[in-house]
């Protein structure tokens, strides 16, 4: 007798169909019109064959960034995140048997706190764009004002996600413009738009154009009553000032570049930090330091009265499953790099972008960088050929070009956003420069 039959017999059933006796006939289906299951070998073969049709950044130098970045991932990070005990665990509801995950996430929160200069950090949001949506609604919880000012210089995907998060609470999203010469924010325009109903100002450092905006440090003193939300690239924070040190109430950002591959855009890692005074208005799971029954140090999920399973429709957010494993990757990544490694990596990115921007700027008819400013690892160029067409030409030469900007910032029709990191050798950069020359 098989186990299945034994179990059915114990239940007093003859046939497993009896397990579904409570499903009325009118809603029954006749099985699934899917192919018969495959063996593991066949699954692997079939999917590898299909996936082989992708061109990867390994074989083709890729100059795309704009929120998802190609950085080197130390092998040890992969070792750590592929540990079964992290990979196949559920949310650490039972703290006593989940101390490993809880501590790793606490360490992630600690790293982000140090980088952003803000004491309260959650254990992740889905990605940068949803973190922005949550930050906007949180600023409304802080000061109950509905207007949020965001840069026109921002990815259109982020704008769209923000619009959806703002829909429910009826926030008013308004864009402020940028200085066409420096790519920094237009302070006069921002001053015109801040009024008594403005609850939040969002700024990115570096911004969508890769520009390190020198106005960032004066925003809080200029607009003391408005919640300041700063979008960051955590790697740049190895050498750039922490947003908390210039008055940010909330810092958000993308954390994928901290040890998670590009993965065609997912999973990513939404970074979310805030001042300690705002912690009970924050969305998402948080890990707190505590003690066990013997007074020894321990960790657990905490402040759960903000969350959906307790507060239901009054929760600060519906988020529960997040990107915990990516947060562990970030923690491992930052630990491997260490203080000196992160500082050095940040500077290398500044330096590599400067090299490439300068070389492209030397080509006749290309304007590079288009904005006269300090750039992190991205910069905008103006191209004499339509950016979409240019990308097709680059692809023929085995290069994945940059991001055409028309969809994102309407005025930038002949412009392209290029990203370069430590992943590009001098030869990779020189190949791009040569291909651009030939494109003319």
């Amino acid at each position: 007798m098989s186990h299945k039959d034994e179990m059915l017999a114990e239940l007093g059933m003859k046939d497993s169909a009896e397990l579904y006796a409570d499903v009325p006939n009118e809603v029954r289906t006749a099985g699934l019109r899917l192919p018969k299951g495959l063996t593991e070998m066949e699954v692997l073969r079939q999917m590898k064959e299909t996936l082989a049709h992708n061109l990867t950044a390994n074989d083709h130098p890729c100059f795309l960034g704009a929120g998802v970045y190609n950085h080197f991932i130390p092998s040890a990070v992969r070792t750590i995140v592929s540990r079964s005990e992290f990979l196949t665990a559920y949310t650490p509801y039972q703290a006593e048997v989940s101390q490993g995950m809880l501590q790793a996430l606490f360490e992630y929160q600690s790293y982000i706190a140090e980088l952003t200069g803000l004491d309260a950090v959650n254990s992740s949001n889905y990605d940068w764009s949803t973190a922005l949506g949550e930050a906007a609604t949180m600023s409304f919880r802080i000061n109950e004002k509905r207007k949020i000012l965001v840069p026109e210089a921002m990815s259109c995907e982020k704008k769209s996600v923000l619009k959806n998060y703002a829909w429910g609470p009826q926030l008013v999203i308004e864009e402020y413009s940028y200085d066409p010469y420096t790519g920094e924010l237009d302070l006069e325009d921002l001053k015109r738009k801040v009024d008594g109903d403005t609850g939040g100002i969002y700024i990115e450092v570096p911004n969508f154009f890769g520009v390190v905006d020198s106005f960032a440090p004066i925003l809080k003193q200029t607009f003391p009553d408005v919640a300041l939300i700063v979008g960051v690239n955590p790697i740049s924070l190895g050498v750039l000032k922490a947003p908390g040190d210039y008055g940010a109430d909330i810092a958000i950002g993308e954390g994928q570049m901290l040890g998670t591959p590009m993965n065609f855009g997912g999973p990513l890692l939404g970074v979310f930090a805030c001042k300690q005074e705002h912690v009970r208005k924050m969305p998402g799971r948080v890990i707190g330091l505590t003690r066990d029954a013997e007074g020894e140090r321990a960790f657990c999920m905490t402040l759960q009265t903000r969350e959906q399973h307790i507060r239901r429709s009054k929760a600060t957010s519906n988020i529960c499953t997040n990107e915990a494993l990516m947060a562990v990757a970030a923690s491992a990544y930052l630990s491997i790099l260490g203080k000196e490694g992160l500082e050095s990596l940040a500077k290398v990115n500044f330096a590599r972008a400067r090299r490439l921007a300068t070389l492209i700027g030397e080509i006749e008819d290309f304007d590079s960088p288009s904005f006269d400013s300090y750039h992190f690892n991205e910069f905008v160029i103006r191209t004499p050929v339509r950016p979409e067409k240019l990308n097709k030409m680059l692809l023929k030469k085995g290069i994945i070009g940059g991001l055409p900007l028309t969809e994102h910032v309407r005025a930038l029709q002949d412009h392209m956003l290029l990203c370069t990191t430590e992943m590009h050798s001098d030869e990779d950069q020189d190949r791009l420069v040569a291909a651009l020359k030939e494109a003319l």
């Binding site: 321990a298 657990c300 090299r355």
Partner: protein, 489 residues
């Protein structure tokens, strides 16, 4: 007996050394001056520095202080913690998955688009829906997306529908997601059988109702047999019926949300389709809809013509984006591999999950009260009420004592309509032997002579019972905050 490893409790910020990490171009960095506006240059960076050897030791030791499905049974109700097959990991870590950028030209990512397209089709077949978006990053995110779709749908037909109804047994995410989308949430009480009370539903629906959100089987593991009547009531009121897919593992191939007349469905790929949960994420929460809601789905849609895949942004009624890019691609790849592996046999997956659940319920019903006696689907809820009255042992204590025996605890105190609830979902991947062993331990705990042993459990985990009250009171969420607190005292 189970004993969990335990290493020193220092956080990595307390450890000392020197990094062994090296980068090419480091010389460019050291000679770089004037790289950013002066007022934005950081003066101090208080991060640890350790050689790789120490970092790996630190995290591998931490991992050994963490329970996972690879260690043992994880009967968390409504979480569907089934075994995560390893072929999916192999595929998800291929360079052709990891090293592609979401903004790449569609010509360069045909393989990825094909997999996403085929996964959408498979999920349509499983759910009986007409189209699926793979964008949402998690189940709750799928619910939020579904609520936005409902909102856009009603707005298009110029209808002012401001309310969403949920049963009191609903997952907390349902009311939270509806509220985030700006709906007013109305909870209706369950009937005495634990199912939707049709009269309460009839009384609650009106021309203001945008949607009714339920899961079927419900959170007690009971199949809502009157689902067609429910659909009728909801649709007659002009509202939409939303399927919370958290419990889909019970019914694949036997029925479908489409056959039950639902309009919007979300899936939890990290539950039903066996993708690893990563200690809390990543997940993936695709959303399926009926034809009339298709125009509102997020952009881009993947369209196929003669084996060629293209991204279509030209969708004027679309709600736009709910997150950047195309969804949690690496998770989606895993889920598709799982679907290929099982194919039409997913029906047997569900059947086995239901068999395991009913078998385990049968094994536990002498020692624990089983409210609502009917047949269950993939999960069931027992009550520790009697233990609490007789010995002062609560559901929480039973859960903690289970840890000592190497089992994860069930979901506790949910759904709230059962006192001292223990919500148990064994899934199809546990053997009869494991189920028997689990039942034996559960029954042993109920009979334990000294209740203090149970009330002070766990004894064999890395730490003793954790003080959650202290954690909430102090709210120390980072090492930086901890150091400040220490300085103050």
């Amino acid at each position: 007996m189970y004993r969990q490893a335990r290493y020193d409790r220092r956080v990595i910020m307390e450890k000392d050394g020197r990094t062994s990490f090296e980068l090419p171009f480091a010389h460019e960095a050291s000679s770089l001056e004037d790289f950013a506006p002066k007022e934005l240059v950081r003066k101090e960076l208080d991060l640890p520095s350790l050689p790789e050897r120490e970092v790996v030791k630190h995290y591998v030791n931490l991992s050994q202080m963490n329970y996972s499905i690879d260690n043992g049974m994880y009967p968390l109700g409504s979480c569907t913690m089934k075994y995560n097959p390893k072929y999916a990991d192999v595929l998800a870590t291929l360079p052709s998955v990891q090293d592609i950028h979401p903004y790449q030209d569609e010509e360069t990512v045909q393989g990825a688009l094909r997999i996403l397209f085929e996964l959408e089709r498979a999920l349509c077949e499983i759910s009986g829906m007409d189209a699926v978006t793979l964008h949402p990053a998690a189940g709750a995110h799928g619910e939020f997306t579904g609520m936005l779709l409902a909102k856009a749908y009603h707005a298009k037909s110029k209808e002012e529908r401001t309310e969403v109804i949920v049963p009191d047994s609903a997952h907390g995410t349902n009311p939270a997601s509806a509220a985030m989308a700006g709906f007013q949430v109305i909870e209706i009480p369950s009937g005495s059988d634990g199912c939707v009370d049709l009269e309460a539903l009839r009384a609650a629906v009106s021309e203001k109702t945008a949607a009714f959100m339920i899961t079927n089987p419900n959170t007690l593991g009971i199949f809502e047999s009157q689902i067609r009547e429910i659909a009728q009531i909801v649709h007659d009121a002009g509202a939409l019926l939303y399927y919370d897919g958290a419990n889909l593992n019970a019914v694949m191939g036997w029925t479908s949300p489409g056959a039950m007349d639902f309009d919007i469905v979300h899936f939890n790929l990290h539950k039903t389709f066996a993708t690893p949960h990563g200690g809390g994420g990543p997940g993936a929460g695709p959303v399926g809809v009926r034809e009339r809601l298709v125009p509102f789905l997020p952009v881009p849609r993947i369209v196929e013509r003669n084996g060629h895949y293209r991204l279509d942004y030209d969708r004027p009624d679309s709600i736009g984006k709910v997150r950047a890019s195309h969804g949690n691609f690496a998770v989606l790849v895993r889920a598709y591999a799982y679907i290929l592996k099982h194919g039409s046999g997913l029906k047997e997956v569900s059947e086995r999950a239901v068999l395991n659940s009913n078998y385990l319920k049968h094994k536990l019903q002498d020692a624990y009260a089983l409210p609502f006696k009917e047949l269950r689907k993939h999960e069931f809820v027992v009550s520790a009420k009697e233990l609490k009255e007789k010995k002062g042992i609560r559901a929480l204590d039973v859960g903690k004592r289970l840890l000592d025996y190497g089992f994860h605890a069930p979901t506790i105190y949910f759904p709230s309509l059962v006192d001292e609830a223990l919500m148990i979902e064994p899934t199809e991947t546990e053997t009869k032997e494991t189920l028997d062993a689990f039942a034996e331990v559960m029954n042993k705990i109920a009979l334990e002579e000294d209740p203090e042993v149970v009330k002070s459990a766990p004894h064999n985990a890395a730490v003793k019972r954790v003080d959650e009250v202290y954690a909430a009171k102090e709210a120390i969420l980072s090492w930086r905050a901890y150091k400040k607190k220490m300085q103050q005292t």
